[in-house]
Symmetry: C2
Subunit: 321 residues, 2 copies
């Protein structure tokens, strides 16, 4: 997809050119390191694409796009501390390469840098941009807290799980798109449509992630199949399974949590999931949000050419598995 590649290159170039001060080195070296670890840069791309719908150039929407990307990276740096994650994009996380204190503080600075970028937009747009950005930042924190709370809970419902992924990951996609729409100075209705498109796309994308972990083609997904099951991670699959299982199956799933033989654990879990049609239930939930996303897009006034966004959604959702 040429367009997506072009956007991606543009964003990488801007990030590479982004200059952090040299001193204190322990504050800014981690940011130089982390910001260039790569990633799909999907969020800033959404901002650029959204603004483009309203005939605003990439130059006009780049500050907002970068602000979203910086915020995303700030939240990754802090989440990695909380999750004790050693690796991010196959490289050491900031708290591993330096230490937790440095990761906390350099994360904080990156967050302020995101706000600085927002303030580089035309003055009359700043209040609206700030409003969406602040609300989203708070929701992302709430989602991360819910995720941490879920670790010690055994009664998480699928609705709660969807709400958690909505907050933790999806609203930021909505925010990225809405910020582009604000820069495009379009109607409140179009802003809302693009926001909803992003949120539902994000939820669908996360459900797809849960599905791919167990049912994906390992060559295309790029990691071992069943990692979530082996780690006893709460996913939509495991939550739905628990809610639909018979008492006997609940006991079986509970004892499988302690199964040491990985092949056995995967095979038995898959067998329970199959009898409960977990794959199909998840796929229905995913499709529902994908359709909500598409409906939001087509609700936009004046049949705005949103081919690029549809292509992006398509691109994100045609990973075979």
């Amino acid at each position: 997809m040429n367009t997506i590649e072009n956007y991606s290159k543009m964003i990488e170039k801007e990030i590479a050119a982004f200059s952090f001060p040299t001193s204190p080195a322990n504050l800014y070296d981690p940011l130089r390191y982390f910001m260039t670890l790569g990633g799909k840069r999907m969020r800033p791309m959404l901002t650029l694409m959204s603004a483009k719908l309203f005939h605003k150039s990439e130059a006009e929407s780049m500050y907002a796009a970068l602000a979203v990307e910086l915020f995303h990276n700030f939240s990754l740096i802090h989440d990695d501390i909380m999750d004790e994650a050693p690796l991010r994009r196959a490289k050491q996380t900031v708290h591993k390469k330096w230490n937790s204190n440095i990761a906390i503080l350099s994360g904080d600075v990156l967050f302020v840098k995101a706000y600085e970028l927002i303030c580089k937009n035309p003055t009359h747009l700043i209040p609206a941009l700030m409003q969406v950005f602040n609300r989203t930042a708070i929701e992302v924190c709430e989602g991360q807290q819910m995720d941490m709370d879920f670790e010690t809970r055994n009664d998480v419902s699928s609705d709660e799980y969807i709400e958690m992924i909505r907050l933790k990951t999806s609203v930021l996609l909505g925010c990225a798109l809405e910020m582009g729409a604000i820069i495009g100075e379009t109607s409140i209705e179009n802003r809302k449509a693009l926001y909803d498109f992003g949120v539902h796309l994000g939820i669908a994308f996360q459900i797809q992630d849960d599905l791919l972990d167990l049912y994906g083609n390992p060559e295309k997904v790029g990691k071992k199949v069943g990692g979530d099951v082996l780690a006893n991670k709460k996913t939509l699959l495991s939550i739905l399974a628990k809610s639909k299982a018979s008492e006997e199956q609940i006991t079986q799933l509970a004892s499988l949590q302690n199964e040491q033989n990985e092949d056995e654990k995967l095979a038995q879990t898959l067998s329970v999931f199959e009898s409960l049609q977990i794959h199909d239930h998840c796929k229905i939930e995913m499709s529902k949000h994908y359709l909500f996303a598409m409906a939001a897009l087509s609700s936009m006034s004046d049949s705005i050419a949103s081919q690029e966004l549809e292509e992006l959604a398509d691109y994100l959702f045609h990973r075979d598995y």
Copy 2:
């Protein structure tokens, strides 16, 4: 001082009325707890006083005042993690009462709440408020990083130390005052004068803190004398002593770091400091910044009635010792 007490009550009332969401409880309970631990509320008071100089009511400057106080508390919550501090205002710190992850995340949310408060100001003032606030937030992080870096360095100069306290603590006083001036819609010159007043007052205040720790009246200071010396903490006193000491005294100070007898350690350190006139050198440095602060105040155009600010400075600097 009646005026200061009035301001203080007004601010406490607003903070008590500040409502955080109930859920997720692990995100917002720590904030409800920490924000009501008290403190002098000096920073928001400066914002209210500053705006008052330009005939703006407390109602008009309260959002900015609270934003500064929330930011200050955010930075305390994160600093307490980094410093592994068990207590803050004689109560458990957030990371002790809950855990580090919760302290990181609730700190992050508090930071966003500060930005939300800034955005409640009249639209045309938001860009200027944001600019000062962002710059200050970054500087505070830089100061905290410098402070952490100093822990493992043996060659910190007094200039570097003053720069560290300027960034870590003093610029926020300047910011508090400048935000009041922005709300007052006064000239750039007055904004700068008030900012400089705050920064130099802050530096003088920190130096006074270093002095009081060793030379203060324990009954008035409210803590044991010499805590910094006993903890081998880098202060302006210890840094100046090192820079002025003879080779013999440097050796003596170095070996005193390992002295287990506290009375002996204090007595010998005091004796070295006395021979080097450390108290006087520090007091000169403190007075210099106090005078800079007063000069900034009197540079303000139209001889604006700044009696309240002078009284506040007076109040802060007449703690006997």
